[in-house]
């Protein structure tokens, strides 16, 4: 535990890299790292960048970082790429679009593979962000997978959501209507030098109006990330959103909500792990599961039996105060 504190106090990339490696791999020690880091809550503005593949998210993130870093801010970047469901491997290719950051000293980039998580983030993304926050980063940018489906997970950890798109949305817009439109705080039309940019802006405006959103009105920005056009304005808008959150107390509320949500996720995670272990420990359960498999009994009954069994076992062992 003291060693962990040391790693946090060192404030260098090597130590941070080591802490994150543990957290990413959910090693035994990561429990202590997260426990420790949650008491060191920082001040980071957490910005989620999401959008369909090919919309230029990585390039945009790269340019945002470049400009923020030039102002002397400490930046953490978390890039997510999909894990292959067949091999469990992943090719994490975001750094290649961020090559110009390689020599920028105050940018720390962590690439994560989804490792089976379907909501657009990696399982460990929230943990990684928490450690970066505790490491006193000023801004943390999270780039979601961007495989096309709606990626809600980022909502749970980001203060500001930027939705990136390219001209000629058409069908994409229709699918996006199904939900993610409402969650974005800023809309970006990237590659805005391509034909159809103005139409896309018009379409977006209409959609925002139709949604009848109250409070913060999401601005629509046009960028050409490859040429760094519109990036300055985008950063200003991100700052404005932060100011809005602070002035309306949403900043604090979002964090409080996140704390509770984290608790919730952890309970669920812990419970399912405990249940898994419990099933393995006690021989009888395999027999019952086999019966469910063969249709001799129903899953409802057996699931209750297993959970109740676990609770009963722990009650008799530890007085029922906590599961760990």
């Amino acid at each position: 535990m003291e060693k962990i504190a040391e790693y946090f106090d060192k404030k260098d990339d090597v130590s941070l890299g080591k802490l994150l490696k543990e957290v990413e791999n959910e090693t035994p020690i990561s429990f202590d790292i997260l426990k420790h880091s949650s008491m060191r809550k920082g001040k980071a503005h957490i910005v989620g960048i999401t959008g369909p593949p090919g919309s230029g998210k990585s390039t945009l993130v790269s340019k945002i970082c470049k400009q923020l870093a030039a102002k002397g801010l400490q930046i953490g970047v978390v890039c997510i790429d999909p894990t292959s469901p067949f091999t469990q491997g992943a090719l994490l290719g975001d750094r290649i679009r961020m090559q110009e950051l390689a020599k920028t000293p105050n940018v720390f980039i962590k690439s994560l593979a989804t490792r089976g998580n379907l909501g657009g983030l990696a399982a460990s993304a929230a943990d990684v962000v928490q450690v970066l926050d505790a490491y006193e980063k000023d801004v943390i940018l999270i780039e979601t997978v961007g495989v096309g489906q709606v990626e809600f997970d980022v909502l749970g950890i980001a203060d500001t959501i930027v939705l990136v798109n390219v001209p000629g949305l058409g069908d994409t817009l229709q699918t996006l209507k199904a939900g993610i439109m409402e969650i974005a705080d800023l809309y970006v039309i990237n590659q805005a030098d391509r034909p159809g940019a103005n139409e896309s802006v018009k379409d977006l405006k209409m959609m925002i109006r139709e949604s009848g959103k109250v409070g913060w009105q999401p601005p629509i920005l046009q960028t050409v990330a490859t040429e760094e056009k519109g990036v300055k304005e985008l950063i200003e808008s991100i700052h404005e959103h932060k100011a809005h959150l602070k002035s309306t107390n949403l900043w604090k509320e979002k964090r409080q909500e996140r704390n509770v949500a984290r608790l919730d996720t952890m309970i669920q995670g812990l419970l399912s792990r405990k249940v898994e272990e419990y099933i393995k420990e006690e021989d009888g359960w395999q027999h019952r599961i086999q019966e469910v498999k063969e249709g001799k009994t129903d899953p409802f009954t057996v699931s209750h039996e297993i959970v109740n069994g676990l609770i009963h076992k722990n009650n008799s062992k530890s007085g029922g105060r906590y599961v760990k």
Binding site: K3, Y7, D13, V14, L16, G17, K18, L19, L20, K21, E22, E24, N25, T27, I29, T83, S84, T87, Q88, G89, A90, L91, L92, G93, R95, I96, Q99, A102, K103, F108, I109, K110, S111, A113, R115
Partner: protein, 130 residues
């Protein structure tokens, strides 16, 4: 534990086919591969630190293996990175002893089966750091 590899073209070397094919095939072998494109030793090591890499893979056909390869090892060790460092590309047999002497764990020629690179990695990676 999932093995994480940082893969880079060394310096100015322009041939990306090999590095990318190896990256894709190591992914097929179940590893997580962070592809850097072209980088110089200092930046390769920085990326390995940030990514928590277990392995640093260097690819070169440009004849810079003897100068830049050992430099990656040297900078990595100075900064306390103990990742396995391996190299691939067209590298003369005679240079391999010097590279190994410098701390490159293994050198793979152009006809290596990717499977055998994966096996080598799996049997040589150190599993914990902190």
């Amino acid at each position: 534990m999932q093995i994480k590899v940082v893969m880079s073209k060394l310096g100015l070397d322009i041939h990306w086919r090999g590095a990318l094919v190896v990256s894709r095939m190591l992914r097929d072998e179940g590893m997580e591969v962070v592809y850097l494109g072209n980088q110089f030793p200092e930046q390769i090591v920085d990326a390995a630190i940030q990514e928590g890499a277990d392995v640093i893979g260097l690819s070169t056909l440009g004849g810079n293996h003897l100068t830049l390869g050992p430099k990656v090892v040297q900078i990595a060790r100075e900064k306390g990175v103990d990742a396995l460092i391996i190299m691939g590309g067209v590298i003369p047999e005679d240079d391999i002893p010097a590279l190994k002497e410098a701390g490159i764990a293994e050198v793979f020629g152009p006809e290596t089966r990717i499977e055998s690179i994966a096996d080598f990695i799996r049997s040589h990676v150190k599993n914990t750091i902190a």
